[in-house]
Point group: C2
Chain length 978, copies 2
């Protein structure tokens, strides 16, 4: 039985349609869809992505029936276009282009003008009566084919190609200034030179047979799926390797047949601002690559905006008929796809041809404007509008960014990479100590440290940015920088030499104190030199859009906030409570660190209690401020978590100072530090273990919380405290800590009449906690908050602080598809979370479940949490808006999924059964079965969703896998959400 | 409906039997069994363990129907014994004793002579015509009751009791030398004094009502279930808190009614040597406590051995009739229980009474002899004999031990506790450096270090024992000490001050260089002063017994051996292969450490390869020697696992020396050390991550292995290499490393004609590996070896090296029942192992599964592995014999379980339904349901097993929970066991 590997389009008979993106790729599906809409698409056919998969599985051999199918499809093209491939008199020329499911612009190869040789070029001349055009096409074909298919190319990406060298030589010889000076003979001469270059380089002549040319091009495009830049791109955007690309073979039309021909690119709205006018550029007498290449300056298609200097005409004026048709098509397409379209067109001797259309890329600002406008224009409902915006884009609105279009920036020298510890961008002079940062702050400085400590706080305030060689996303530097709004790159691969005042990059470059560097805290880049930043800011569209988002979503979004300042910032961004308040971060402040140190150095419980008593009023006031800021929204406060030695100084000088301050012998302090030293602090005396060994700590913190509650309630505020016990691995740990909290609550709250409801719950951040979640729930835990940072660390046996040495390598080699600290490892760790949720809810159906790891603000992870019926996600204040958006998208997709899936089944199911994938896995081992299952589900992807953004598209796939698409509560108003 | 809470025994009508140990406790079940056998047991009744459980659940209130049942049972005792409780003329006196399922000798309370008061004492005088005896009983009763029930007791365990003070005072006043000088009036005087002391102390008089006395005593015994020493004992022996104790109330008989009365303790065989003669001691005119208290020296019961000095008669001579009856009973009991019995008896005015019998405690040597002899005597089959010996006991045979009977040792001062890192005992002078250890080795030294490093090796050889303040069971010190056979206590709670030449204990004691300390590496104790050790050695019985063990077991036992010496030692102890050869331990040797350091300091792959090439021949030779030692048995070699910085020096001095040696700048070396520094090395660049980042390391190790294979095969040895990839978390890691191993194997093995079968498998030591075990198995892993050390660390988020600071506290508070690093956490981590096994075998039914963590030699963990159908366990060489025994016991119990369970059902099931436990958990929550299920299973425990040792008993419980009691292969002969 033969599979259908080839889908024809154009000329009134089209096999495919826009819903077959998986099979035909984005370009192929859109061409089919345009053809179906009756738009003037040059005829062609698409070789499916299944061929790509089979090709790679079968050691680069095509399925046997493909040849025959291509032959038949090509015959159809010949019939529609009225010419013949390889016909010396009336030749058909074709292009061969890649087309993956998701656009990977410029990543894969393209070959144009296939079918030209020394014979057919004569036919082309005869047909067009335009020898210059014919030879121009021919020489373009040879250089492109030579480059892409035969590999006779420039030595590096930036070097000139050997073909350009030949052209330059000829122009120099002839004294020409521009390519347009080249006449037909010159171009014919170039054809000869190019061919001889290729023969000389390869030892074999350039292929003259059009069939050879075509198959060479098809193979080259499939091969380009796995070239380095394509792989890198897929990795960056999380596109699976096994999706493969389709190949589109299409009749050539020519924008370079003289002054009646043109070619251009247009957007149905302005992709920078989102304004609703027809935006585009074109070149007369040119092929598409000329527009992109930037050799000639293209002209605007109309006068909607002022013309640039030196431009005096537009497409509308030069080709009024074609322009009107194009403008009509623009509206047709936008109405059809209900999204801003990116259109490629060519006018051949006055006739308009549509080459491509797809959803246009856009800035965050434009994305919001377009979404809001389309709804206003009633072209889109709010839910679909929400699916049009990528969550990650929202980041652009809140933090300074470097100018991506700046050429200097494009050529920037990244001297080190680290963790994106605190977002934003900045530049400044390098200093190596907090005191220098303070004294030189007027000049704008970047504080560079091995790691920071509480001693450095003032210097961190004084600096514009902070760069550290050690530490992870939750290191002191990262936490403080996010708290005080400084850009920070942490754990960068540099070595710092304080004594000699420089740091050294992995490549051995020396950066001295006083040198300028720039930091990109959103990306984790350290850049040589000074780059200025801009900040976009919020628009009205943002506010309108986010209102819709909040209406659509069911998952609540909280924030991780450690200070009243954080809490306020997060409220402004729409946080509906605090999911994690790390009390210890309050201790890092300089007026408190002494007290916590006094507690650590105390020799007995009495001494500890005394020191804790000094901390109590400070913590109480912080909590009071936070309760006020969150007026009525739940505030989750975690009891002390980090190992105590994190609060102690590290250098001899600091230790000596500390001993003096506390009138202790240096020996005593060193003894204590040595006792507290741990080989693996992450796995040591921390979390609830501290509160169990030193119950007075938990007692003090509980007292501070409930005394703050009393104060806030007495002043008329609503409060909803949720006390969270960290690092619980055994239910008895929780029981012991909860009993202290309850006891203190009873003592303190008895002083007021008002009844205050408070919850006591636990972080689920150890594999054992997931496995024993039923027992923990049974011990009367009111809520679970998945601490996915630590859970990732223990599930993988991987320290976030130390992973830097090999994480990049693992991602580059594809061992891990994604950084598990960025996006929840749904496949592995996801199982533990699933076990935890199931077991917890098996005991208590109403168990409130949230997440407070860094993953809480990552769209795929948010979708995962939605799927597993979480009540809320909690993330850094700056990620709150995008978590809201991701939550809304997950809810919308889940709502759509059942009926959409139903529709899709009718179209795709028969094919899925006959697909070569299914055939390629004959052994019905469990794992193979599971794969087959996923494959089946994937084919059920709904049609309409194929026009949404890539992130949302991926989300659909995941949501469709959800076994239970259950009810969700409505997140309205403050107070406890259960 | 009323439960049966009270079981009567004696006088021809007995409710219980020996199979009801759970309900009646060990003592109660045995008394019932003895009564059923027709032996002369004083009548009495047992209040069941269910009452204990209900009592604690119900806030120390007894079930309401208990009073009535006790009344009825007491009436039966009165009838049988022909006297009445509280009858002033013919009083019945009773004892009240605890009795848990498993004997907890001396841990709980006992009250004797209940029923005496100022009235009944007169009846006792009249009845016995012996006022001295009566008042002696009365004063004993008051002091015991005052102490145990009323809490009028000595201030500390070592202090004299207030009653003894009063006696001493009286004796001084009267000028008496011994207690026997006290006459009836003196004793009457004591009764008065004791009572007045109690009234003065408590403010209320001593209870005169016998019913009050009885209920006070019953409550006191139940209360003693939860006193500190009982809790500590249970924790040490892993006895669950909720088992509870039974209480036995029994008619008193008196060995102190004058010269025709006596009391004694006997063993049916010698408990020290196991020799088959009637062994025991007795005292004339005494109560049982006198024998135990050691105030008077007891006499032997017969002349089987020479009499001690000053002893001139025996029970056999003094009480020939009673002795003959006792000797008859001895044989009756041994035949009945088929085990050596520990018997308590009393002769009251010539009549023999049996007070107790139970399986006797014994030394390892005796345990083996008794087991072997009983089989020879055809009293026992081999399988039951195997169940009679506790695996842990075997340790006594292999390593020196301190003399437990030495009074000085009993009063030893434990100055610090640490991990039992390398077994054995020793003493020596403290030194603080390896060089001192070398120069002073003649004197016998203990090397004390913060932690050891490869620089210390010679000093470690020179020392008798090693004590470190940091590091866990797999630290350098522990690993090397085990390898070279030195006693080691690691990670002890001491602080070491090298500069001033002392270490300090947690209590602040200073131990200086030159001071004597003793180490117990089996227990992890550091003891002040010098204690000599003895070594038992192996007996013929051992060899006979272990042959039976090997016949009975199905689970294979391998060893963790890193050197040819280890391998040989393990073979001698019966290891059937190597389950873990940690190649890096070879690197710690002084001739190799330089090469590995050269590799680490190399700046590129070329430099690394050069250094690795120098290591290759050394590793090859080691492997060759190991293959030879294991001739044909499988040898599992793990590729490099620890983070590289473990191989680098730590002190400035050593670093400077290293830089000089390698002609590198100090800066360069420090740079490298700083780059390799990790916050949490356990979670860092180690395991297969090393082999992935530096494939040349894996390549070298694979080459060394297969070149050794070639050499061994060419010399005619059989080899079965199994290459193990550590720390795999993602199947792709395994694929990458396996491909290197396979490639090298092909290269090297192609040189010989013989076909060598080798396996490539992986450690399963990360939660993610368990969760994704199907994918890893699918990636063609030939075997899984559960690395339960690391798996425990990651499942708990707990560093073994750092847990010392709070682990003791957690165990003492009962937060954890057992140290999870010692015995597999079956409840929590067990789930991950189960998932791993199930998923792995779902892909490959024949997947070979083993364990190579420290747990592999712990009996409960061995039973767990058996239950989960492992192919083998692997443990330290010295634990191989006990793992063999534990494996045999697990297999025997599993075989017995089905039919035994069937039998048991008939007897117990109706009761289980009506048990108060079931009633006490009315909510059918999942967790409660699970508990109920366990309860049900527990009641099905087979009857016969109630006579085996405690460890085996616990194992039954676990095995009965096994859902699949499937087939097991027979472990015969060498070569791959699949």
């Amino acid at each position: 039985m033969a599979y259908k590997y080839v889908y024809s389009f154009g000329g009134g008979k089209t096999d495919g349609h826009g819903g077959l993106r998986e099979l035909l790729g984005g370009k192929g599906a859109n061409l089919a869809e345009m053809a179906k809409l009756g738009l003037p698409v040059p005829a062609g056919f698409t070789i499916t992505t299944e061929v790509c998969t089979a090709y790679y599985k079968n050691e680069l051999v095509f399925p046997s029936s493909l040849k025959k199918e291509v032959k038949l499809a090509l015959a159809r093209v010949e019939k529609v276009m009225g010419c013949h491939f390889g016909d010396p008199k009336n030749p058909l020329l074709v292009s061969c282009r890649s087309g993956a499911r998701i656009s990977m612009p410029g990543m894969m190869d393209t070959v144009l003008n296939i079918g030209l040789n020394d014979e057919t070029v004569k036919g082309l001349i005869a047909k067009t009566n335009n020898p210059r055009f014919a030879y121009d096409s021919y020489r373009r074909f040879i250089s492109m084919y030579g480059d892409v298919v035969l590999g006779v190319a420039a030595e590096s990406e930036k070097a000139k190609s050997p073909y350009e060298h030949i052209i330059d030589q000829l122009k120099e010889n002839k004294g020409y200034e521009s390519d347009t000076d080249l006449d037909a003979d010159d171009l014919k001469e170039l054809v000869r030179s190019f061919k001889s270059l290729i023969k000389k380089t390869l030892g074999v002549p350039f292929p003259e047979d059009p069939q050879d040319q075509l198959w060479g091009a098809i193979a080259a495009v499939f091969n380009s799926w796995t070239i380095e830049r394509a792989k890198a791109y897929r990795q960056q955007y999380g596109i699976p390797e096994d999706w493969g690309t389709a190949v589109n073979v299409q009749a050539m039309v020519f924008g370079n047949k003289g002054q009646t021909s043109a070619t251009g690119v247009a957007f149905s709205r302005d992709p920078s601002t989102g304004e609703n006018y027809f935006y585009g550029e074109y070149l007369t007498n040119a092929q598409g690559e000329d527009v992109v290449a930037g050799v000639r300056t293209p002209r605007p298609i109309n006068r909607s905006k002022d013309l640039p200097d030196g431009v005096d005409t537009t497409l509308e004026e030069e080709f009024p008929v074609a322009y009107n048709e194009l403008n009509f098509i623009r509206n047709r397409l936008e109405n059809h796809y209900r999204d801003m379209q990116d259109i490629e067109f060519t006018i051949e001797e006055g006739k308009l041809w549509m080459l491509q259309c797809r959803n246009g890329k856009r800035t965050a600002k434009a994305a919001l404007k377009i979404a809001v406008d389309l709804v206003k224009e009633k072209k889109l409902d709010q839910e679909d509008a929400i699916l049009r915006v990528e969550p990650e884009q929202l980041n652009q609105l809140f933090f300074p960014v470097f100018n991506e279009d700046d050429l200097k920036y494009k050529n920037r020298k990244i001297i080190a990479k680290g963790l994106p510890a605190s977002p934003g961008t900045c530049f400044g002079k390098v200093v190596f100590s907090a005191s220098e940062a303070e004294t030189q702050s007027d000049e704008g400085v970047i504080l560079v440290r091995l790691e920071t400590s509480p001693e450095d706080i003032k210097g961190m305030f004084a600096a514009k940015g902070i760069l550290t060689a050690r530490g992870g996303m939750t290191s002191h530097a990262a936490v403080v920088a996010r708290g005080i709004g400084r850009t920070c790159v942490a754990g960068a691969n540099i070595t710092v030499d304080y004594d000699r005042g420089f740091f050294k990059t992995a490549k051995g470059e020396i950066i001295k104190a006083g040198d300028f560097i720039s930091l990109d805290g959103t990306k984790g880049e350290v850049i040589l030199g000074a780059f200025h930043s801009t900040k976009l800011g919020l628009t009205d569209d943002y506010h309108v859009f986010m209102k819709w988002v909040d209406k659509a979503r069911t998952l609540r979004v909280r924030t991780n906030a450690d200070t009243p300042q954080d809490a306020k910032a997060a409220r402004i961004r729409g946080a509906e409570g605090i999911g994690l308040c790390r009390t210890e971060h309050m201790f890092f402040q300089s007026d408190r660190i002494d007290h916590i140190r006094a507690m650590i150095l105390a020799s007995d419980a009495k001494g500890r209690k005394k020191a804790l008593n000094s901390l109590l009023p400070m913590q109480r006031d912080d909590f009071y401020q936070i309760f006020k800021a969150m007026d009525g929204y739940p505030v989750t406060i975690r009891t002390l978590d980090p190992p105590l030695h994190e609060f102690l100084p590290k250098t001899e000088k600091e230790i000596t100072a500390l001993a003096k301050k506390f009138s202790l012998s240096l020996e005593a302090v060193n003894d204590r530090i040595s006792t507290l030293h741990e080989q693996n602090p992450m796995l040591g005396l921390r979390g609830c273990r501290l509160g169990i060994i030193y119950p007075e700590i938990t007692r003090m913190q509980a007292a501070a919380i409930f005394e703050a509650v009393v104060k806030a309630v007495e002043e008329g505020y609503k409060v909803a405290p949720e006390i969270m016990i960290p690092l619980v691995g055994h239910e008895k740990e929780f029981v012991l800590q909860k009993s202290i909290v309850d006891e203190v609550a009873q003592e303190v709250l008895s002083k007021i009449k008002a009844k205050v409801k408070y919850l006591v719950g636990t972080m689920i951040e150890l594999p054992r906690a997931c496995l024993e979640a039923d027992k923990i729930a049974n011990a009367k835990a009111d809520f679970f908050s998945f601490g996915t940072n630590d859970l990732t660390q223990t599930t993988y046996g991987l320290s976030r602080d130390d992973a830097g040495t090999f994480l990049h390598y693992y991602l580059e080699r594809g061992i891990w598809e994604k950084d598990p600290f960025v996006s929840i490892d749904q496949q592995g760790m996801g199982q533990l979370i699933e076990i935890g949720v199931e077991k917890g809810r098996s005991v208590n159906k109403k168990l409130k479940i949230g997440i407070c790891g860094e993953h809480g603000g990552e769209p795929n992870s948010v979708a995962f949490c939605f799927k597993h019926d979480f009540d809320y996600v909690s993330c850094s204040p700056h990620r709150v808006p995008l978590a809201r958006l991701a939550a809304a998208q997950a809810a919308i997709i889940a709502n759509k999924a059942p009926q959409e899936a139903k529709k899709a089944v009718k179209i795709d199911e028969p094919k899925a059964k006959a697909s070569p994938k299914t055939k390629a896995a004959p052994k019905a081992k469990p794992a193979a079965k599971a794969k087959a299952k996923i494959g089946r589900r994937a084919t059920k992807r709904p049609k309409a969703v194929s026009t949404v953004n890539p992130a949302a598209l991926k989300a659909v796939e995941k949501i469709l896998n959800a076994q239970k698409l259950t009810k969700k509560k409505n997140p309205k108003g403050p107070n406890h959400d259960d």
